[in-house]
């Protein structure tokens, strides 16, 4: 199998497997997770081509889908994409194994793994996509599948709420990305990310909106201020989902975007914006993490904080440090979430206040989780220390303020990491008497993660471990492949680290006072309340607008149509040149007055009977018009119609309710009057303007051939039954349909009232 086939398979396999998962789960139950973990094999096998990728030739694959809009499944595995894909695949594989133990027997395993596979496939597609439209498609697909995953326990209100919140925020960001992608393609002149015309993009007047849209997309997905609020409530998902979404995947999508499109953010104001948004998020996430009492919530806020750190590093143009930390974070955060899942499972609680000293009962979990937590804290000799150190050094380059924020954020990070560790140490406390160590398959996925945390810390410079990964991305992100070192020498960076440890420990010790202060400082509103208010506002707006438009009386809907007709005439009358109408014969003027008078009579009539008389009169007027135009047959037809109409009316008269008049307020009457006159004016204008046609009318043909070809002297009749007989067939059908409908209405109602409304009542 060639590299490019493998690349296609890497993305396609999880998506295809999602269709099979429900069937497989019916047979295998939760253990299907072990089998399904194999979908990540093709991605990991991409490493067979790693040397050529390293030397700068990216793997490429392409399958066209809709060439009309340039949509193709075009993938391109450069160093960074490959690195990221391998993280997604490796963590994914472990998560699938983990989930097989986590999910109880009563859960809907098929559905769960199906959702998770869609998500994994979308994520792999997102990082590997080269076609911008496909990239957007995968981006949205991650939002959709995470909605399903977060709401997996859909019976719970909190799950529903969390899922909806994640969807609303990430899809809104997705729409920003949609427009950004459209603009990128139009300005950049290519649908391939790797082939965009950078100079044209930067020179375009739409450059600023474009970058802003991209940033909104990245910030929503990666939970940056002010969009972070969806992440904590996403913890309603089953823990394997949280471990996957919030360590290696979903939330990193925005980071991928920032990293991949870094070339757009280099420009002065944007790099600063990204830097400070990232730093602010890092600080704020850590600040909020300190307050949490739920282990999972603590990790959630910690994730927000760490994402801020990554955003700041990539945004300010330090891809090396960022990539190093990205790897570290994926590893330790996945391990920590898994550990929390195990604790939750066996202790039945995630409450930090209710748990401590768990190492006695959960020794293996403790051994596996502690390195990860220390890595999060930034202690040597664990991976997190190294990248945290790099972070400090880069922030020192950025200036004093960034350094200050970075250090204070890290102090709080250290403090909450200690707090996390508290559950393992100290006096044993757990309300669940049945607390027990997890089974080996449950624990197994943590082992490689913890080993990685330690190896990355102990042998960072080794070309087969961490440095190997950071080097891989070097080419595509444009940095020199540097070596990672555990010992950076006695610099300001180390001093800051030491400061962090001591202050962090101190902060942990006085945490109760700190939290009390936090509580006092908490305002009555936060991002969440704003979100709910906005959502309620949206609902209100929708209801108001719809009731406003739908609730308007039926007459108003008609006013709009007639009003538009009136406007049509007015608009044209202003700049049309009218042919001079010829003289109007006196007889025609009299008949015209008669018709106008009788129609006015219909409007003013107090009883239905008098209205009917006036209507007949108006009809008689139109008959006279035909007489004056020397069309006796039409006049006869018209007369017949008028007579029949009057007779029909008279015959149903007694069934109709008494004629009621609804008074309308003066302004409404005025508007209606204006509209009516406007319509009359339009018709008048149109009548005048058609007196001289643009081109000769085709009537001569009818006059010439009516007898010869149509076999009739009466041209109108021949038109009706021959030239345009097809029309007449339609009109006759109309009458037939009306007859059927009227019959049905009468008979059906009649039958129903006989049957005593049986069927209508049902269970009401």
């Amino acid at each position: 199998m060639t590299g490019s086939q493998l690349l296609l398979l890497a993305v396609a396999l999880p998506l295809l497997a999602s269709l099979v998962a429900p069937v497989a789960a019916r047979v295998m139950g939760a253990k299907v997770g072990w089998l399904l973990a194999s979908v990540f094999v093709p991605t990991l096998m991409l490493f067979t081509d790693v040397e050529s990728v390293r030397s700068g030739t990216a793997l490429e694959a392409r399958v066209d889908w809709v060439s009309g809009i340039g949509l193709a499944f075009a993938f391109r595995a450069d160093g960074f994409s490959l690195l990221f894909a391998s993280i997604i695949a490796a963590v994914g594989l472990l998560i699938f194994v983990y989930a097989a133990s986590y999910l109880g027997p009563g859960e809907r395993h098929g559905r769960f793994f199906s959702y998770l596979l869609i998500f994994a496939g979308a994520m792999l597609g997102l990082v590997l996509a080269d076609n911008l439209i496909a990239l957007f498609a995968f981006w949205e697909l991650t939002s959709i599948s995470s909605f399903l995953l977060i709401g997996f326990w859909g019976a719970r209100k909190a799950s529903q709420d969390g899922a909806l919140k994640a969807l609303v925020i990430t899809v809104l960001g997705g729409l920003a990305l949609l427009v950004a992608v459209v603009l990128l393609i139009l300005i950049g002149g290519d649908t391939r990310l790797s082939a965009l015309d950078l100079a044209a993009i930067k020179a375009s007047p739409l450059f600023v909106p474009l970058v802003v849209l991209l940033l909104i997309a990245a910030f929503t997905k990666s939970a940056q201020i002010p969009f972070y609020l969806w992440l904590p409530t996403a913890m309603e998902a089953p823990t394997p989902v949280s471990a996957y979404l919030h360590s290696a995947t979903m939330v990193k999508a925005g980071i991928v975007l920032i990293a991949k499109m870094g070339f757009l953010f280099e420009v002065a104001p944007f790099s600063q914006v990204v830097l400070y948004v990232g730093l602010a998020t890092m600080f704020w996430g850590a600040y909020l993490a300190l307050r949490q009492n739920d282990l999972k919530a603590l990790l959630a806020y910690s994730t927000i904080s760490q994402l801020g750190l990554l955003t700041a590093l990539y945004g300010a143009g330090h891809p090396f440090a960022a990539t190093a930390h990205l790897i570290n974070h994926a590893v330790f955060k996945a391990a920590l979430f898994m550990a929390v899942g195990i604790i939750d499972h066996s202790a039945g609680s995630r409450d930090i206040g209710a748990l401590s000293g768990l190492w006695r009962k959960l020794p293996f979990t403790t051994v596996l989780a502690v390195p990860a937590a220390l890595s999060m804290a930034g202690l040597p000799p664990f991976g997190g220390f190294i990248s945290k150190e790099l972070f400090f050094e880069e922030m020192l380059h950025e200036g004093t303020l960034p350094t200050l924020i970075a250090v204070s954020g890290s102090i709080m990070t250290f403090a909450y990491s200690l707090r996390f560790l508290r559950v393992f140490f100290g006096r044993f406390r757990c309300e669940n008497p049945g607390v027990h160590e997890a089974s080996l398959p449950f624990l197994a996925p943590l082992i490689p993660l913890s080993v990685a945390v330690i190896l990355f810390g102990l042998f960072p410079w080794d070309a087969t471990i961490a440095t190997w990964f950071t080097d891989l991305a070097a080419g595509s992100l444009g940095y020199e492949g540097e070596s990672l070192y555990l010992w950076h020498g006695l610099g300001l960076g180390l001093a800051l680290s030491v400061l962090t440890w001591f202050s962090g420990t101190a902060l942990h010790l006085i945490r109760d006072h700190f939290v009390a202060m936090q509580t006092r400082l908490t305002p009555g509103w936060n991002a969440n309340t704003v979100y709910y208010q906005l959502l309620a506002g949206l609902e209100h707006l929708a209801l108001w607008l719809t009731n406003f438009t739908q609730g308007a009386t039926f007459a108003t809907h008609l006013r709009l149509i007639w009003g538009a007709l009136a406007l049509a005439g007015l608009g044209v009358a202003s700049h049309a040149i009218f042919p001079r109408p010829g003289p109007v014969p006196l007889s025609m003027a009299i008949v015209g007055l008669l018709i106008v008078a009788s129609v006015t009579g219909v409007l003013l009539a107090r009883t239905r009977f008098s209205a009917l008389i006036f209507m007949g009169l108006a009809g008689f007027g139109s008959t006279l018009v035909f007489v004056l135009l020397r069309a006796p047959d039409l006049a006869l037809t018209q007369l017949l119609i008028e007579v029949v109409t009057v007779i029909l009316f008279l015959s149903v008269f007694r069934f109709l309710p008494v004629l009621k008049r609804y008074s309308r307020p003066a302004p409404v009457a005025l508007i209606d009057g204006i509209i009516s006159l406007g319509v009359a004016f339009t018709v008048f204008v149109a009548l005048v303007m058609v007196q001289v046609p643009l081109a000769p009318r085709i009537k001569d043909y009818f006059l010439a051939f009516s007898k010869e070809l149509g076999g009739g002297y009466n041209v109108v009749n021949v038109i009706l039954v021959d030239f345009r007989g097809y029309d007449t067939m339609g009109e006759i059908t109309v009458l037939a349909i009306v007859a059927v409908t009227v019959l049905a209405l009468i008979r059906l109602r009649f039958k129903r009232s006989q049957a005593g409304h049986e069927e209508n009542r049902g269970e009401r």
Binding site: S67, L560, L694, A695, F723, E759
Partner: protein
Amino acid sequence: MNFLALPVLIPLVSGALLLLLRRPMVRTVSSGVVAAVTFFVNASIAVRTWSGEVLTAQMADWPAPYGITLVADGLTGMMLFLSGLTGFLTVLFAGISLQQPSRRGQGPLLNRAREAFGSQALFQFLFMGVNMSFLTGDVFNLFVAFEVMLVASYGLLLIGGELPQLREGFKYVIVNLVASAIFVVAAGFAYGLFGSLNMADIAVRLSASGADPRVAVVAAMLALVFATKAALFPFGFWLPNAYPVPQAATSAFFAALLTKVGAYALIRCFTLMFPAEAELKMTILAFAGLTLLIGGFGAVSRRRWRHMLAFANVASIGYVVMGAFIGTVTGMSAALYYLVHSVLVVFALFLLAAIAERIAGESYRAEGHLDVYPWLGAGFFLASLALAGIPPTSGFIGKFALISSLFEAGGSLRFMVAGSAVLTSFLLLYACVKVWRDFFWGEADAVHRISLPRSMSMITGLGVGLLIVLTLASGPVYRLAEGVAGQLTENRSYLESVLVGALLVGEGD
């Protein structure tokens, strides 16, 4: 080539015959067979037109422009194919809706009464009117087709005689009669001014006569009529309350196809006869943008499936008209692709809604259905994504193409319309997700499994399956849309085929 009249004649004759048949079963079966035949005829016409050929038929052999000409170009073919397909499925679904009483009464019994009083025949007459309007090349004949459609749809709306049906039916018929009145006046003026009623002939005459401000009056009147039919803002307030009231199959066909006839007529008029009316076209584009918002917000404000979907349908009309009036070939291609998608997605969603109503009755408080009806959930979810234009569905392809065409064409109005298109897709997704949350998620305790007629689920599955097929076949379908859009812009072959052998006014002298 008089087989072009078959899509009109088959439903006409069979509609009449259906009235004579006595036994419901016989009626139902023959109705289905006839619909299948019509679909076959429509599809074979469609396939021929898609190769670029323009088929014409001069009725009673009167040469154009003196008689009535039936024309089938690529656009007509597309519409015929869709009407044949959805028509066939509608008839099947209506037939099945007669079987097996649901737990909450209502449906089948009432449907049986409706069937007994001619709903099958009315369906056929409706198809006749719809096909007639797609095939005609004549302004007045289009009016006749609209009349047939109007009375048949009014009949279907009323039959059953429920109070909401009568109330909404009244508004429906009045609004449409007003539109018809304006239409017939406009057709008269069209003849008066252009001297002909044949659309191709009018096109030739107009291009020969040069710009004249009087043309705009007639164009505006016709636009007003078609905008009302298509439920375009601000003339479409009659639609959202009317469409949910008839029986399920009827509202599915109404929503999927009937409003599209208005959109079709707009496209036909402004590509063939009035391509030069730039100001009017911009106005329609702006109205389409507002229609999107009305539909999007309306969908958010409604919790009942079919009411929500009726608004969603308004929005999807907005998308189609918006694309068609961007003013570029890419915009038209996007619009035509979206049109196909929109018919299928709205149809599928209404069928799904019919099943949901069977399960839960009219109640929208019902929850927790995902565990009991996972396939219904999967279908709804997929169709929702398609409706809102979320990847990887056909709706996404259409939406992306539309928005990209808007930006490509440029201009501040188009940017604003693009904004409302983007916002609307969010609103539609939000509306669907709320239905998902309320109906599919939640406690499943109160949900009882009722057995649905297997064929009902199958047809609905087919409806959703068509969406998947469309998504997979998006490449070829989009190419088709591009071809048709090209044909609409460069209409030489249309004019030549219609006016073959006729005196081309203005060209001879």
